[in-house]
Amino acid sequence: MWLVKLSWKNIWRNKNRSMITIAAIFFAVILSVVASSLQDGIFGNLVKNIVSFYTGYIQVHKKGYWDEQVLDNSFRADRHVTRKILQVKNITAVTPRLESFALISSGDVTKGGLVVGIDPAKENDITLLKQKLVQGRYLSDNDRTVLIAQGLAGRLKLKLNDTVVLIGQGYHGVMAAGKYPIKGIVKFGSPDLNERVLFMPISTAMDLYGADSMATSYILSVRDIAKLQSTAADVQSSLGADYETMTWEQIMPDVRQHIQADTNSMKYIQGILYLLICFGIFGTLLMVMVERKYELGMLIAIGMKKGRLAVLLMLESMFTVITGCVLGILVSIPVVYYLNKYPLRMGGETAKAYEKFGFEAVFPTSIDASNFITQGLIVMGVGLVLSLYPIYKIIRLDPVTAMKR
């Protein structure tokens, strides 16, 4: 206990030096936590955007649908399948879709587009479709109306309450044709979706395509994103070999690669940050050893064992590092929360790049507690490993040499 007291007193014998070291660790922890939270937050936001776009976290199709996306590869959407999916742990919601291509016409102009039959309420739970409404009202279950993407409406020169004509090929080759009033206009960030998608209630889509009770996919949402892969595997094994289960990462591999590339570059930045922390702490330790060389020699001379002296210096380093880390974590909490509530907004090329994917260039921080703990522990680990240096010096310390002025 007296060693602990002595080490604490020793820290404050040179207040400026100790404050500089603690400040270096303090700022390192804040930087490290903010960088890590920002990275997690950006990617989390990216994934959330993707999911709320269109894909959902997990999709279930009839086996082979992803390779050949035609109505004939649809499956019977009965309650039995839905129940099986919902029984899988971590699944929070399921919604069916019936998707196919059709010619979409406004009279003078015709364009190819994607017609998506949805369960309006459930779809909104997962992909927040209602939030994308810029004009009109959202769909109801039995509506024989449609929601049209803003870009597509512009191309077809259509306005709210105009009628759109759809012509295409239905289930098993039947003719699919119909005309529907536009109940609402939705806007997507993704130019691809904004230029070609049209939504209608799934029952109306079944009528249009002659695909009674059929669905091309189930869109699933999950509670814990970290367990995405295992959840997808559980759904697959629950449904059997007639179905294929795909995560958003499989559906949009380009986004996944983008995240991985960004994660790697962030690792380099963090590596440089840790290196700076190392130099800061090591510089202080070197100063301590030079400054107190005589005293350490004297302590060995009067009978203090080197092991005890090493423990004393270790405790001093530990107190300094832990104080810096704890203060850093405490201060980084409000900083990270602030940046979560008022996220950074990018402009210029970065914003354009993100808009290509259809996302706003907004970078919120993640408030996941693990970021604070992990970064705090990493900096603490770095500090404690470096504090082994004085131990090495003490083991080699010769009291006579050390006490030479």
């Binding site: 004297m298 009978g303 064992k305």
Partner: protein, 251 residues
């Protein structure tokens, strides 16, 4: 002649049949043995009895500090043996030597070397904590030592709040806290003014007399030499005179 008489008079007061505390045989310490050998200590014999108050004198570079380091187990001789209370410390490992020093030797340094963050009391207590002494034992010893060094009112003062003389008195108390076999003091009065040096010497002489503690000083200071009961003179690493030998011859 007057100084010689003083030394002889002091030696006459030395009690007889005392136990041997330090017995150094033929010890030598050579620097640069392979190139130009420099004998810091050259074939020295030194025999100290319990209760001796001995000054090791000589010009700068004569080997006083090296000899003290060898006797104190801080350094190892290149040849010869040093027996402290019958233990040949030249055969001990560096870890064993640290333990041996803690239990047997008290050190007083020229520049006090108190731990600046500890109070006077804590500096003295430090040695006893290293020894693992219990609280009541520590408290009793501290009380006794601070009475002896006449600093009972400075127990809670930090070194920076004490004068040089007071700091050196606390250093003496620290050296004695472990109840050592003997105390080695390397130029203890070098950084003190006359009054402080005189007070310190009074205290050390009193401790020597009352508690029979063996002191070995290295010094240039005539005031210390005058108070010593035995003076060993070192030149170029060799003992050129030893008042104990003179006294023996006289006897």
């Amino acid at each position: 002649m007057q100084r010689y008489m003083k030394i002889v008079a002091n030696i006459d007061k030395e009690p007889v049949n005392k136990e041997t505390v330090i017995d150094a045989h033929n010890i030598s310490k050579v620097y640069n043995p392979d190139t130009i050998p420099v004998y810091a200590v050259n074939n020295v014999h030194l025999h100290l009895l319990k209760g001796e108050f001995t000054a090791l004198v000589g010009p700068s570079g004569s080997g006083k500090t090296t000899l003290l380091n060898l006797i104190g187990g801080l350094d190892k001789p290149d040849s010869g043996n040093i027996y402290i209370n019958g233990v040949d410390i030249t055969q001990l490992s560096s870890g064993e030597l640290i333990d041996f020093r803690l239990k047997n030797i008290g050190f007083v340094f020229q520049s006090f070397n108190l731990i600046p963050v500890l109070t006077a009391k804590e500096n003295v207590e430090f040695i006893m904590l290293l020894q693992g002494a219990g609280r009541s034992e520590r408290d009793d010893r501290i009380k006794q030592l601070f009475r002896q060094i006449q600093l009972e009112d400075k127990l809670d003062s930090r070194p920076a709040q004490l004068s040089g003389g007071q700091q050196q008195r606390v250093a003496v108390a620290r050296a004695l806290a472990s109840k050592p076999r003997f105390v080695l003091a390397d130029e203890p009065t070098a950084n003190l003014d006359s009054q402080s040096a005189s007070n310190l010497l009074d205290i050390m002489a009193k401790l020597n007399k009352e508690e029979d503690i063996t002191f070995l000083f290295s010094t240039h200071d005539q005031r210390v030499i005058d108070r010593a009961r035995r003076v060993v003179r070192l030149v170029d690493g060799k003992i050129v005179s030893d008042s104990a030998a003179v006294a023996t011859e006289h006897a």
